[in-house]
Amino acid sequence: MSMHGRVLTSPLRLAAIICFVATFPTPAQSAEPTEGEKLFALRVQPILREKCFGCHSDEADELEGGFDISSRAKMLAGGDGFGDTVVFPGDHELSALMPMISREDVGYEMPPKEADGLTQEEVWAIRDWINDGAPWPSEERVAEIYALYAKGVLVKTSGGQSDQWTNRKYEPENLWAFQPVLREFSHDLDLAKRNPIDIFIEARLESEGIQPAATADRVSLIRRATFDLTGLPPTPSEVKAFVDDARPDREAFAALVDRLLESPHYGEHWARHWLDVVRYADSSGFANDWERPNAWRYRDYVIRAFNTDKPFDLFTLEQLAGDEIQRWVNEKGVSLDDVREVHRLIDEVDPDELVIAAGFLRMGPWEHTGMSVAKVTRQQFLDDITDSVGQVFLAQPLQCCRCHDHKFDPIPTRDYYSIQSVFATTQFAERKTQWLSDENREGMKEDERQHQMRVQANEAMMRDLAKVQREFEAKWFADRNLPYKTKAEAKKAGVDPEQLPHKSLKSAADFGRERIGRKWRTRFRWELDRYQPYAFSVYTGKTPAARSQQSRFVMPTNPMAKGNLEKTVILPGGDPFAKGDPVKPGVLSAVPGGLEFELPESPHGRRLALAKWIVDPNNSLTSRVIANRIWTYHFGRGIAGTPNNFGATGKKPTHPELLDWLAGEMVRNDWSIKNLHRRIMNSDAYQRSTRHQDVKQLDQLDPKRESYAVFLPRRLEAEEIRDSMLFVTDEWNPAVGGISVRPDMNLEAALQPRMIMGTFAPSYVPSPRPEDRNRRTIYAHRIRGHRLPFMETFNQPGSETSCELRDQSNITPQVFAMLNGEEANDRALALAHRVIQETQTSDRRLDRMQVVRRLFELVYSRLPTERESQLTLDHWQTMAERQAEIHPQKRVWPTEVIREAVDENTGEPFQFTEQLFVYKEYVPDLQPDQVDAVTRGLADICLALLNSNEFIYVY
């Protein structure tokens, strides 16, 4: 397979790897099989193997019901319950098996899991086989019959754990993603004439007799496109410019798309999609949920990658092997002509950025504590990254193959461990780098100053406790006339530690404070790394001895000096302590070219090789996967409906040729994502109205709405809601990048005690300055164990598993958040204030009509109707009168919080007071007591507008 160039290999050569056997049976070597034998080989045995062997063969941990169905003799011998009447050869009616598998025998339905139940056809196959005498030909004979007569396609792989698996055949439609990407199409695709996307879409519309909807109006279009590309609404002047654009619709819209793609906020929005897929968070999860103080640099790397339209192949290489490329670059041990990608990188990228990019490999939740078993946590990482690479880049969830050959897809467990072997020399490190010139370091000093207040308070407490301890010890020794002052001194002098006091603290409060102080000291110290140019990254080398992680991982000077050079073996049943066959680094063997693809066995370069295979233009998965993801975010649904799963159990593409054309378009255009946005958004399909002229007909012909006859409305995603509110109030700080900021969190949630290993976590405190808080949500500090309730409520995914597409559920807590929550109410007030300020005439008179017009323009991108104006003015009047009766008090924020717990040393309760320094200098957003009743009345209006469907849905 060609690795260097981008010349497309002939599809024919690749297609030959998958051979269609069924159509050309070779003459049988031995006698013609009977119908029963054929049934057994082709239908019955695969059913038994898949549905029964798990409990009724030696595969089972414990044989269920004493019944073994793995050979004819055992089957006929029967089991505990039904004796030898389970199968009666020649007469299905006498066979107790039949009512079980047809699920008529209540309490004995087999297989027990209803969703695994046999289909009618499968039941009939077993019935006919029994009636034909239940023949059970030898293994060789079965293999021969299967090879000759089985329908479906044989796929060559690295081989399963059994011959049967290795030689099994697949329904061709389930292999679509393993077929080479189509390069030639039946349609005439002339880019100059027509957008190929529309050709593919319309072909299906026509064949199904569906009329597409008309083009959406310009206001809808600019809202749709602006939200889609930037996650923000358009400004009124942008709307006006677009609506008034004299150019033809198509041209005006293309110019709009171009403008939006140049916005730095494009990268923020699309990076967020990617971060959903890779499970970005600023903490490790699990018991300690340690902060990952440098993870933000990876987040910013992703934002930059989208903004600069980094070719997706490079983006992939860097995330999987940035550190390896960097090493090559540094050591100059690489022929630049040989690896074009590396050549390009040296020209354009700071080598340190490559190290940051490799942070991808550590995005999953992970920790190793004093309670952890090294082998288990290491395996947890290896399993996590293997499955993650499978889902993220290849849309192949590989988890199933951890324990066995894949049940439905041509992925043997050997491939799983071959890919895992690629990561066997990948080790964690927070690596020292330089700051990059385009990293935003604004606010770092300020954040550090605030952080130091916590550090210092904690250190003061620890000093105080040390003093208590010292005094106790001095007195203890003095009372006994011993010549020591401290335990340490006594120990040094050789006193038996058992003769010394066990603990030098006595009160529950002191024990409790000491426990908290020690833990927080560790946390706070580590968190100071936020301000240091470390990269949350990896290196290649031997696996060092595990330690309970309490600080950054330091990169060893010689990564090959100490530790264990891992040799990957297949782990039967996925058990980290099991030992199976050794494997070499490899890739998915069923992907065209995968079987021949060679990876280095040396510790270095494995990931780079894997990455190069992933982005090879002939890899049948990668370009389809990314093209499908892009499409999914534009339309709210994928061409293949499960963007993380292109296997047999995933959804088949609704427009397979279109998907292949888009995949090809990616590759042809240097893997440009922006180019793909342009292609997609400039299609008629994208610009269609959400309303259809004949809904009845559409319901009939396209009930699932997969024809793209209409555009589907969508609800704003969690971050878009918050960002858009900040945008329309003009409170937002549009700065791009930098260390995480802490928006306001519902105060009760922020101060709620949270358990980490051994004690409480420090409270969540917001950034004290509005300009830090009111940044886009992608910059919000993302703690796995303490998420912003607002985000959680609006379906921001947790960062445990990869999220291919967000849910849009409509649940009641969303109403509480938007109607009663501080975030929404603060924004409503700020919006009211803004609009009044902006529309005030020179003599400071209030033109209420003008206010209402401006408000609608900002929130809905349109002016109110007369009816709406009147409604709004009336309600404003009512609420202003109501508000005049309310006298809001100046709000006070707590500057400390008291924690209560039981000390584990004394079993007695203690109290601990945590200082909330931030609130001593907290600058609140505009508060109700700072404005008059008229403004507050307008804030009621604003709150309603921000809650309204028109604001929350995009059309």
Partner: protein, 470 residues
């Protein structure tokens, strides 16, 4: 007409739109997305109509209570007390390294009730309802870290992200109450390790997630309007909002979600009234308050939540989980467990008795367990005075009451030092299956298609522990 969007688009909080609406919506989404729901479309009928339990109160003893010092006496440990512990095996975690010693229980044990249930002397009240309990000593888990162990007990998956038992039960049985979530969590002030993922809906519809009612401050975040905003004030705003929405609906008749979202606002407005009312325990008689131990120490905190659990079950909430922390007594076991047991003993006994008196015990399954048991051994601490016990995944005690469990029996056994379950041994997945069975649900039928396969609480199936069922 149905929109081909994600399947859980329309639910209110819990099945708050009522079970009829709930199944109707399932049918809606099944129409939109039938591939996804094939085989997983639960109607609201239990799989086993004869099952007694309709509700479950799950008392979660966070931190891992010591079976050896509560319900599983090990006199042998008194003989071995402070002798050096003999262990085998490799790949130990730091917790089991170093020299360790056998540790006897600091508590006295006695047998109670006709069934002769073993309890340490601190269970003064629970002893009075001993015959209502079914003890199980055969359960084993896998993880020795709190968050992963919590996830394992609550969701069947150590690494979190999967649906919790309460979500599954509501998925299977639906809710009986229009205005309350079907799965309510009554946590301690501090959430357990692993946080809200312990009551996650996982890949099930969002509406099935557990709703934590916080024990201090606002029970549900933001359930009350900001200061100064009265109900009339908010109603006026809501009317204005709905008028805007009505206008908008006129221009987008194609969009179903608009009305669903409008309805949700009305439901929320009702809930703001209903939820605080439900949470009040003031209307209970003084005798009831005294019975649970409300208003007195050390029981008040847990007593309030046990009483609330009963009220919620009466209101038709399917699954209530009550947390009690923290049983993680690595040191000073005698003091720590000695202080903890009295905080829960009276409230639990009252809960069982109260439900029985009201004729609700039969239909309410009570489960008491932690995330693992504790070790028979410990390092020497404080000159042998401060000893406690570490985490033990191989042995623990679970007990159940009511809901058709095999009350009055002790099932399974651990070895003579309580280190390992040795009789009627089952992985916790079998306990999950049994719990579902008691609630009339079949783990093999209660499945949901996600990420390429039909998933279930037990992960890959298992078996019912028949001895736990009456």
């Amino acid at each position: 007409m149905s929109q081909p969007l994600r399947r859980d688009f329309l639910y209110g909080l819990g099945a708050s739109l009522g079970s009829v609406a709930f199944s109707a919506m399932l049918a809606d989404s099944a129409r939109a997305d039938d591939d996804d729901l094939k085989g997983s479309g639960r109607n609201q009928e239990p799989h086993f109509p004869n099952a007694k339990a309709k509700h479950c109160i799950f008392l979660y003893m966070e931190g891992g209570p010591s079976h050896i010092d509560t319900f599983d006496p090990k006199p042998k440990l008194s003989d071995l007390h402070l002798q050096e512990f003999q262990r085998s095996g490799v790949e130990q975690s730091a917790m089991s390294s170093g020299t360790r010693y056998y540790v006897e229980s600091p508590f006295q044990f006695a047998k109670h009730g006709e069934s002769g249930a073993d309890m340490c002397h601190l269970w003064k009240n629970l002893a009075g309802v001993a015959d209502e309990l079914c003890f199980y000593r055969g359960c084993q888990v896998e993880s020795v870290n709190h968050p992963t162990a919590n996830y394992h007990i609550n969701t069947g998956n150590q690494f979190g992200g999967d649906p919790s038992i309460g979500a599954w039960v509501n998925y299977g049985l639906g809710s009986e109450n229009q205005d309350l979530p079907g799965f309510i969590v009554l946590p301690e002030l501090a959430y357990p390790q692993g946080g809200a993922a312990n009551w996650s809906n996982g890949y099930l519809p969002t509406a099935l997630q557990g709703t934590p009612l916080r024990s201090q401050g606002s029970p549900i975040l933001d359930i009350q309007p900001p200061a100064g905003v009265t109900r009339e004030h908010q109603r006026q705003n809501l009317d204005f909002l709905q008028a805007l929405n009505q206008e908008h609906l006129r221009s987008h008749p194609e969009h179903d979600d608009l009305t669903a979202r409008m309805k949700n606002y009305e439901l929320a407005f009702r809930m703001q009234m209903e939820v605080p009312k439900t949470l009040q325990i003031d209307d209970e008689s003084q005798a009831t308050l005294d019975r649970y131990g409300v208003g007195v120490e050390p029981t008040d905190n847990f007593a309030r939540r046990c009483l609330l659990a009963r009220k919620l079950v009466e209101k038709g909430v399917r699954f209530v989980q009550v947390y009690a922390s923290t049983w993680d007594s690595h040191d000073y076991l005698a003091k720590a467990h000695g202080a903890l047991i009295p905080t829960v003993d009276q409230p639990i006994a009252a809960l069982i008795g109260d439900l029985r008196d009201r004729g609700l015990l039969d239909e309410t399954l009570i489960v008491w367990m932690g995330e693992f048991g504790r070790t028979p051994d410990n390092g020497i601490r404080g000159g042998g005075q401060a000893y406690g016990r570490d985490h033990n995944p191989d042995a623990m005690t679970i007990w159940m009451a009511g809901g058709g469990c095999n009350a009055g029996h002790t099932i399974g056994a651990t070895d003579e030092i309580g280190g390992q379950a040795v009789e009627n041994v089952h992985h916790v997945r079998d306990f999950h299956i049994t719990l579902l069975r008691l609630l009339g649900l079949d783990d093999n039928k209660l499945t949901y298609f996600h990420a390429g396969r039909f998933k279930q609480l037990s992960q890959f199936g298992g078996e019912v522990i028949e001895d736990l069922i009456a």
